[in-house]
């Protein structure tokens, strides 16, 4: 009985005490709305340093038989990881031909030429080429400012025709802070790009 009485008294005090709190809450919410009501919508985000597009262009050199076509293959993934799957072109080369190959890297989201960027920091970057399942030899021809291999340009020499397609893998490594040396290899540093094109020789 006595407890109940106390409880009722409490309820009354509580009501009184809650009133200023409610007022405070109202003021508080006003404050939050005016000071932080960030109702702006975000802009779509472009991923920085994204490489959406890697293109390799192979021009037959002057010794190639007449009529040998220039070959180009592109790997394009404009929306980055997830979303739409990347589109990957194939390389069909002629047997016994020497090609002069050139790489182009682009960020088509931000409309930037990444090849230029790499050229500017050529002492910290290197392209590596790996061919599987085809008789093809790739030799980088360009050098960085320290005289080390860069690999934007290369010669590609094809051998016998293939029955099943092989692959050409191109890996761009970032090797900063002295990681790029005469002995550094495909396992040194961080990978900036790692793409594979189906490759067949006719």
């Amino acid at each position: 009985m006595f407890n109940k009485l106390i409880f009722n008294i409490h309820l009354n005090t509580m009501k009184k005490l809650f009133r200023p709190y409610l007022a405070f809450l109202l003021i508080g919410s006003l404050l939050t709305i005016s000071s932080c009501g960030n109702d702006d919508d975000p802009e779509p985000v472009n991923e920085e340093e994204l490489i959406t597009t890697v293109t390799i262009r192979l021009e037959p050199n002057e010794d190639a038989p007449k009529g040998t076509q220039t070959v180009e293959a592109t790997r394009r993934d404009v929306d980055g990881v997830g979303g739409t799957a990347p589109a990957i072109g194939s390389l069909v080369l002629q047997s016994g031909v020497t090609y002069n190959a050139t790489l182009t890297l682009q960020d088509e989201q931000a409309n930037e030429d990444i090849t230029e960027e790499i050229q500017e920091e050529n002492t910290e970057h290197q392209f590596f080429y790996e061919v599987t399942g085809a008789d093809v030899e790739v030799t980088p021809t360009d050098r960085d400012d320290n005289g080390r291999i860069l690999g934007i340009e290369s010669t590609v020499v094809t051998g016998a025709a293939t029955t099943t397609p092989g692959a050409l893998r191109i890996v761009l490594k970032h090797q900063p802070d002295g990681l790029k040396t005469d002995t550094s290899d495909i396992n040194t540093g961080e990978t900036d790009a790692d793409v594979s094109f189906p490759l067949s020789i006719e």
Binding site: Y21, T52, V81, G82, D177, T191, D192, A193
Partner: protein, 789 residues
């Protein structure tokens, strides 16, 4: 604390002096009145000795009080007391003595009797520093507190590393400087941090996001283990960490303290300064605390950990006003840190990650340096708190707390091209309010009732990497908890309801979606504590807590460097619900041996976790994917702490814990669960070493043994199986030295003294590098007495 101790010492001296005098009034008062209902002068006697329960020493000068008739006696120089002229009946003797707990003994007397009365030393009062447990717990749920000397020995470490000193607490690390507390296997958003009474709100979801709290400003850190949803918010499924600064001074004057900390491993230097005072005319107190830390790269036993330096600047100011009925407190704290992340931990893709795992040591080692380069984090946290208290008559107190927090997190990735911009820049604003009415015991009930609100706005800087969407979150909660206490038994119960609105603005391609969520979360708890005897308390607790998914779990989308993975949220996640039961047996207040054993069991339905999955192919190679999923999980384990005082000087401290965690749907283990561990420390107190200038000198040595995590599988650790177990030797030495009018406290602690090379399962950088090697830390505290009045 020190002050009360001095006072007690004085009282003891006084009592002894008085007690040794031969003339000593046995019966102070004898005001038995003739109408008291007990028959007068029946000629019986109760007598006996008042002795210490443990040492059996007589307690000279102890007061024995008899209620009916109202009589008091004081134990003589042999500890003897006696009451004469008593009749047959039941008598209650209340015995009190300085430094001992007051106790009552009830006897039925039919003839003159001898009854020895045993008192228990009040360990709480006798020792300036009290280790966990010891009847300090006023709740059925297991808690552990880091304070006093134990806390001092962790000064200079981060919050997450400091808390590892407590049983049942481990940490998830990202290199040497980023450490997040793990309680009973749970972490991140499931462990709430209360910084000076305000829920710490930052990007807690990130395993590499350390709490933005300066532990140097804390006087006490308490961990509440297990679901604590009722009082602190329904998302506290794992537990709560309460970081409390010391109370403002209550006596007039100005004083302060300067602390210097140095570490050999990363050549860290820390300077902390504190000034506080109270005005003599007004009931106004204040404090300013600041600390600056600067560290270079840490050292593993065999190599330098390139780019692991950090710096941190902190400021905390408090202003308090206190009257008999009304009190107010204004608190502001600033935290800023810049933390370098190990250079070679930046794996771009799965091939790079596998290359890194295959290496004996990180690819880039370099030499010791204070420089911080990419990748690094730059984090700023502001907290403004206003609190008012109002005494509601004799029945309780009303407390209102408002908190504002701004958390700015910038992360700088390794880039091909030079840039000054962060790649991830998140800004989180939080306004929180809490109104609580705590009522004092009404008959046997005491408790509190309250409401809380939380409003948040999360944005990212335009042009930064997409990882977490814009969102606004509003949570309102209401809770009520009561305790009932009678004799040996205490019961407690509480309920809470939280209503949460989450409005997200997320991109799906180029299209902006604006999904809105509403969550209803209930929490409840039931607990009981029963004193099985003077030394033994059994407590049990069952609680239910329900955590709504957070924006990151729903909408994460982006690259996670360091683990070579892409993380994806799931917009269809629902709340996860935990049913947590815990039993604790506590043997306490003994002067030789104390211990605590906790057993717990936590069923979490719809547990939200990141499942690593099939790699996706990006332009720079293959990435692992991580998808947020839900499944039922089961956590269980035990914590044990033992303290054995071998002699008055030598004591052994043992802490052990083990935790199991499985995903019951796939019947596989959960990742990041701490392996079994045991830590033993021997401590020898040397007192003053015979010199008047020294006091509280001690040396300690011990070892930490951590088992290999045997409970793993392909699903918990797809990349690399857990590393081997390890043993680390640690030691400490400390003393207080009197220099002129001040007393300096000086201590040296050493960790990994054998310079052991090892890797820790819960360190995310275990793929890349060993843990840090031998670390010696030096600490000097200089108290400043500026003005007394």
């Amino acid at each position: 604390m020190l002050k009360t101790n001095k006072l007690q010492g004085l009282l003891l001296v006084l009592v002894f002096t008085l007690g040794s005098q031969t003339v000593w009034a046995q019966e102070l008062t004898n005001t038995a009145d003739t109408n008291s209902g007990i028959e007068q002068d029946c000629g019986l006697t109760i007598s006996g000795k008042v002795i210490d329960h443990d040492t059996r020493e007589p307690l000279i000068g102890a007061t024995v009080h008899l209620d009916q008739p109202d009589m008091s006696a004081v134990a003589d120089e042999y500890g003897n007391y006696h009451f004469h002229h008593l009749c047959q009946g039941t008598y209650t003797l209340k015995v009190s003595y300085v430094g001992y707990k007051e106790e009552s003994f009830t006897y039925k007397i039919t003839a003159s009797s001898v009854r020895d009365l045993q008192l228990h030393a009040d360990t709480k009062l006798l020792k300036a520093v009290e280790v966990t447990g010891a009847h300090l717990t006023e709740q059925a749920q297991a808690t552990a507190t880091l304070s006093g000397r134990e806390l001092e020995e962790t000064r200079g470490l981060s919050l997450g590393e400091s808390l590892k000193a407590l049983t049942g607490v481990s940490s998830i690390q990202t290199g040497p400087n980023v450490s997040k507390p793990v309680i009973h296997g749970l972490f991140g958003n499931r462990v709430l941090l209360l910084n000076n009474g305000v829920r710490h709100e930052s990007q807690q979801w990130g395993n590499e996001h350390a709490p933005e709290i300066d532990p140097l400003n804390a006087q006490e850190m308490t961990v509440v283990k297990g679901a604590s949803g009722v009082r602190y918010g329904s998302d506290a499924i794992g537990g709560v960490v309460l970081v409390n600064p010391k109370p403002l001074p209550d006596s007039a004057g100005v004083k302060g303290k300067v602390s210097l900390i140095g570490s050999t491993n990363n050549r860290m230097g820390t300077v902390a300064g504190m000034l506080e005072g109270k005005l003599s005319q007004l009931p106004l107190s204040w404090r300013v605390h600041t600390s600056v830390k600067k560290a270079g790269s840490a050292q593993a036993p065999d190599y330098n950990l390139k780019n692991t330096g950090f710096e941190e600047q902190n400021l905390a100011t408090t202003l308090g006003y206190k009257q008999a009925k009304f009190g107010a407190e204004l608190y502001y704290s600033y935290f800023h840190t810049k933390i370098g992340i190990l250079s070679s931990s930046h794996a771009e893709n799965l091939t790079d990650l596998n290359n890194a795992i295959g290496r004996e040591r990180p690819e880039q080692i370099g030499e010791f340096s204070y420089d911080i380069n990419r990748p690094y984090q730059d984090v700023t946290h502001h907290l403004l708190k206003a609190k008012g208290t109002y005494k509601t008559g004799d029945v309780g107190e009303l407390q209102f707390t408002y908190g504002f927090q701004q958390n700015l997190r910038d992360e700088y990735d390794v880039l091909r091209q030079a840039s000054n911009k962060p790649q991830l820049s998140l800004k989180l604003l939080t306004h929180s309010t809490e109104l609580v009415w705590e009522h004092k015991p009404i008959s046997n009930f005491s408790g509190s009732i309250g409401t809380t609100t939380l409003w948040q706005d999360n944005t990212y800087a335009q042009g930064s990497r997409y990882l977490l969407p814009y969102y606004q979150n509003f949570t309102a909660g209401i809770f009520w908890m009561e305790k009932w206490r009678q004799d040996n038994l205490e019961l407690e119960a509480g309920v809470r309801y939280d209503h949460k609105n989450l409005n997200v603005k997320a991109f799906e391609g180029d299209e902006l979606l604006k999904p809105e969520y509403t969550f209803h979360n209930f929490s409840g708890s039931l607990g009981a504590m029963y004193d099985l005897g003077y030394h033994l308390t059994l407590s049990g607790n069952a609680s239910y807590a329900s955590r709504a998914p957070i924006a990151y779990e729903l909408f994460a989308r982006g690259k996670h460097n360091g683990t070579g993975s892409y993380e994806f949220g799931d917009p269809d996640l629902t709340s996860e619900n935990a049913i947590n039961t815990m039993v604790t047996l506590n043997y306490h207040s003994n002067y030789r041996f104390n211990s605590e054993l906790s057993l717990y069991n936590n069923y979490i339905s719809n547990y939200i976790y990141l499942q690593l999955g099939e790699p996706v192919l990006a332009v720079d190679g293959a990435y692992l994917t991580g998808y947020y999923k839900q499944a039922d999980a089961h956590f269980w384990g035990a914590d044990l702490s033992l303290q054995y005082n071998i002699t008055d000087m030598l004591s052994l401290d043992t802490k052990a814990s083990i935790v199991y965690a499985i995903n019951t749907e796939t019947d596989s283990y959960l990742p990041f669960i701490s392996p079994a561990r045991i830590d033993n420390t021997l401590r020898y107190s040397l007192g003053n070493l015979g010199s008047e200038k020294l006091s509280e000198t001690y040396i300690a040595a011990g070892g930490l043994l951590v088992d290999k995590q045997h409970r793993y599988d392909e699903q918990s650790d797809p990349l690399l199986s857990p590393p081997d177990g390890y043993f680390l030797l640690h030691a400490a030495v400390g003393t207080n030295i009197q220099v002129g009018n001040t007393t300096l406290d000086v201590s040296i602690t050493g960790n990994n003294l054998l310079n052991t090379s090892y890797r820790d399962y819960q360190n995310r950088l275990r793929y890349f590098t060993d843990e840090i090697g031998r670390t010696i830390m030096f600490r000097v505290g200089v108290p400043l007495n500026i003005k007394n009045s």
